[in-house]
């Protein structure tokens, strides 16, 4: 029986895969690039993300039961499907770097400074592997619960930050100008890239995807934008862009700053506990993405045998990235967007072009 996930699960998965990195690490990068206009960059990134997600939907619209790899086989044969699988595999390997930066630095720098790095990598991979082993349906369900956690986290941070909220910190608006803000938005768009690449594998498994006109993916990006822009506004208004730009994990600074009354002066641990689920979901999906792609390359029906080998590869790369803070930040700001965006935009564009060129061939094969 073919596994199917509901539209709600798909939307929740998009929110989960984007949220953890975008609320803190990305906002720090944006603050360094465009100051208090970081919320505008997030907004622009959301609009760009909508286009990117819709493009992904356009690729599979006519063949809603085929993911990119299967569609590649239909278009140009086995070698092309393997090439696509390899590209997606490489994407998720590289994406694991920023994900590990987000997850490990949050926990290590703020909660467990003496713990060795490998513990964070191994633990997250073990939980991710368990989720991946249980399959996409379970991952979709945990994403739904992750959505609840994200709501709770947003409510907590809003309540805890309102006392120090100063709208003047967000002024003047568009000080950096549209071109710079648009350029900075690519950092947020790189987060959307993770969601669109997830859609390349998952979209055909979404129930009634063909009758939704791509609205579920688009709704996911809009929902993510709404959830994340709250943080962009709060970080700008409460911390100011100058302070935000000083931190790799600006969301943690905001979380530490938050307090409810005089007794509950610090509750960032509760927030991090809530935050861990989306972060672990990102890890889980990286394992899923890589294991599915590599099993397709080798012609293995189930992705389960590939989970452990993929975990090893991901773990080695992730450890290498986070071992050195400078390397991590350099990778995050100067390499990640330039790897993620060409893949996330280029791959759907190539597929759309091929569909146009080979439309008649595709119709014959589908028939």
């Amino acid at each position: 029986m073919k596994i199917q996930i509901s539209n709600g699960m798909f939307i929740a998965m998009i929110l989960n895969i984007m949220y953890a990195k975008a609320i803190g690490v990305t906002q720090g990068v944006l603050a360094r690039a465009v100051g208090q206009d970081m919320w505008l960059a997030t907004l622009l990134g959301t609009l760009e993300g909508i286009v990117m997600m819709y493009l992904t939907y356009v690729v599979i619209r006519r063949t809603p039961d085929k993911d990119f790899v299967q569609l590649g086989q239909l278009l140009l044969g086995r070698w092309f499907s393997s090439l696509i699988a390899l590209v997606i595999f490489a994407f998720f390997i590289v994406a694991f770097g920023p994900i590990m930066i987000t997850f490990v630095y949050h926990l290590r720098d703020y909660f467990l400074p003496d713990a060795p790095l490998w513990i964070f990598v191994v633990t997250s991979l073990v939980v991710g592997a368990i989720g991946c082993y249980y399959g996409l349906e379970v991952m979709g369900r945990i994403a739904m619960i992750g959505l609840l956690f994200m709501f709770a986290l947003n409510v907590l941070i809003t309540i805890g930050s309102m006392q120090e909220f100063d709208i003047r910190n967000l002024l003047p608006v568009m000080e950096s100008g549209l071109p710079r803000t648009a350029k900075a938005s690519m950092h947020y768009l790189a987060d959307c890239a993770m969601a669109t690449m997830m859609a390349t594998l998952v979209l055909p498994l979404v129930k009634k995807v063909d009758i939704g006109n791509g609205r579920f993916g688009v709704l996911g990006i809009i929902g993510s934008g709404m959830m994340i822009i709250i943080w962009a506004i709060l970080e700008g208004a409460v911390l100011s862009s100058e302070v935000t730009s000083q931190y790799t994990l600006s969301c943690m600074k905001l979380a530490r700053n938050a307090h409810i009354g005089t007794f509950l002066q610090r509750y960032e641990m509760i927030m991090i506990a809530l935050y861990s689920l989306p972060a672990l979901f990102e890890v889980m999906f990286c394992i899923y993405g890589t294991s599915v792609c590599i099993s397709r390359i080798f012609g293995i029906k189930s992705n389960r045998p590939m989970i452990i080998p993929c975990c090893i590869v991901l773990g080695v790369f992730g450890y290498w990235i986070i071992e050195d803070h400078f390397r991590a930040i350099d990778f995050l700001e100067n390499y990640w967007p330039f790897i993620a965006l060409p893949v996330a935009i280029g791959l759907p564009l190539i597929m759309v072009l091929l569909r146009v060129m080979l439309g008649s061939k595709l119709q014959k094969k589908s028939a």
Binding site: L112, F120, V126, R141, M144, I145, R266, I272, L280
Partner: protein, 518 residues
């Protein structure tokens, strides 16, 4: 006396394959070969209608058959025919004897020895008459059983006090009395090659999801075992996730709970010789719900349900959170509280994880000891254990007062969970989370909690996701999950039931309007 060793099992198997013979002596010989010299097997010879030309014999088990019914059987066979001047020559078939002579309510002809023996060892009376080709089974089951009492492990304040007993028919009757619906089906089954335990599968035909009953029967049919001594045997052999520590089959001793499950479209499995019945499919949230939730007003029901959810979280997580905070993240504790905890731990020589493990294990030890000991001593041990030993341990500086409070609250919370079996599972889950939190702090806590959550999300009970209706989310079922909505809002059954309508619409009561209309 014949040597017991002569009764070889294969000989008995051969005898069991035989059919009932017209000649009484043949049947008697077979019965003796099979049952041997068992003292509880009683044989009583008689003459049909007092005629010496028509000898017969009845067999029954002492203690299993009701002696008054056996007397009625004998009276029918010996005196009733002669009183009515019936010609014994006419009584040549089991059917004629049943219709013209026997006055017992249930008399069935039997052709095979195996069926005859099976009925007799279940408490029925077996009748053989010379010249009649079939035997007869007269229903005479009746033995000393425990009366209907309040279930010890599922108490409530408001609601019925009756519980299931060890007799399957009493149990089915208890449910049937509550649901006088002709759609209620109770199907028989026998499991266990040696115990031949009676199993009954109950469901309401037009409510149960199509295929569910077949699946239950298929799983029960698949059980090949020599003995079923308690419902736990069946539970472990039919559950979806046998390696999971979560209970995916609900058990109860309460007839009202079983009736409620049937009305929700679920299947109830009765097992003879145990007061515990099984309910499938099962969802995690049911373990937090209690019958009182529905018997009290919805405000009260909802409030105590929320209290139980808190109790569930406390019993699962409180020691882990405490250990994690004190060991790794003390800066997260408000200053005054941190100072209080630190002063209490000043003289304690153990790390907080070890202290927690010792206390948790000591608590489990006291609970287990209190359970196994004779009741009056058990209570004393619990009180002495919790009060005196706890106090002494604090004074000796072995544990901190705060840890005693944490463990006590955790223990009390675990008892607030209505389902005893699931509270046991919860107690076990505490330890891996505690160990992970005590060694890896927040990372270990989050990782083990989410791994557990992932596992719970992955399991099913008879094809239904275990965490339904939260995940997958079923909006209509939310009215009876975290909170218990008013009765007039609970107008539909759970999503998996076939017939959704439970009650008419607009059932919300209201006082009459001024013009007298309703």
């Amino acid at each position: 006396m014949p040597d017991v060793s002569e009764e070889k099992p294969d000989t008995i198997q051969e005898e069991l394959k035989k059919s009932v013979q017209p000649k009484l002596s043949d049947n008697v010989a077979v019965m003796e070969a099979i049952m041997g010299q068992s003292v509880d097997v009683l044989k009583r010879d008689f003459m049909l209608c007092g005629s010496t030309d028509h000898p017969g014999a009845i067999y029954f088990l002492d203690g299993m058959a009701d002696a008054t019914i056996v007397d009625v059987v004998l009276k029918s066979l010996i005196t009733y025919g002669s009183e009515r001047k019936l010609d014994p020559e006419r009584l040549t078939t089991a059917d004629i004897i049943r219709t013209e002579l026997m006055i017992n309510a249930s008399v069935k002809p039997v052709e095979h020895i195996k069926d005859a023996i099976s009925a007799m060892i279940s408490g029925d009376t077996l009748v053989f008459i010379d010249g009649v080709e079939q035997g007869m089974i007269v229903s005479s089951r009746g033995w000393k059983d425990r009366g209907v009492e309040e279930p010890a492990s599922e108490n409530n304040v408001r609601g019925p006090r009756d519980g299931f007993t060890e007799t399957i028919r009493t149990n089915t009757a208890n449910v049937r009395r509550r649901i006088r619906d002709p759609h209620l089906r109770i199907e028989p089954m026998v499991i266990g090659t040696r115990t031949m335990t009676d199993i009954n599968i109950a469901y309401i035909q037009d409510l149960v999801k199509p295929g569910l009953v077949d699946e239950v029967k298929k799983r029960l049919d698949g059980i090949k075992i020599d003995a079923i001594l308690e419902s736990g045997y069946i539970e472990e052999l039919i559950e979806d996730s046998p390696l999971s520590p979560f209970n995916t089959v609900q058990s109860t001793e309460r007839p009202d709970k079983a009736a409620s499950a049937l009305l929700e479209g679920r299947v109830v499995i009765f097992i003879d010789n145990t007061p515990v019945v099984l309910i499938v499919p099962t969802f995690f949230w049911q373990f937090i719900q209690a019958p009182d939730d529905y018997y009290n007003r919805y405000w009260v029901g909802s409030f105590f349900r929320i209290v139980r959810y808190f109790a569930f979280l406390i019993s699962l997580l409180l020691p882990s959170i405490y250990v994690m905070l004190v060991s790794f993240h003390h800066e997260m504790i408000p200053t005054q509280l941190a100072l209080t905890i630190a002063s209490g731990r000043e003289v304690v020589p153990f790390p907080v994880l070890l202290e927690a493990l010792i206390m948790e294990l000591a608590f489990e030890l006291m609970r287990e000891a209190g359970l196994r000991m004779p009741k009056p001593i058990g209570q004393a041990v619990s009180i002495v254990g919790s009060l005196i030993i706890g106090q002494a341990a604090v004074q000796a500086g072995l544990v901190s007062p705060f840890m005693v409070i944490v463990v006590a609250i955790t223990g009390i919370s675990s008892f607030a969970i209505p389902s005893y079996s699931s509270s046991l599972a919860l107690r076990m889950f505490r330890f891996p989370i505690l160990l992970a939190s005590g060694t890896m702090g927040l990372l270990g806590f989050a990782a083990t909690f989410f791994a557990l959550l992932l596992h719970a999300l992955s399991i099913r009970s008879f094809g239904e996701p275990y965490l339904t209706p939260l995940s997958p989310y079923r909006p209509s079922d939310q009215r009876d999950m975290m909170l218990r909505a008013p009765m007039w809002m609970l107008n539909s059954r759970p999503g998996f039931a076939q017939d959704q309508d439970r009650m008419g619409h607009d059932q919300m009561p209201a006082p009459p309007k001024k013009d007298g209309s309703q």
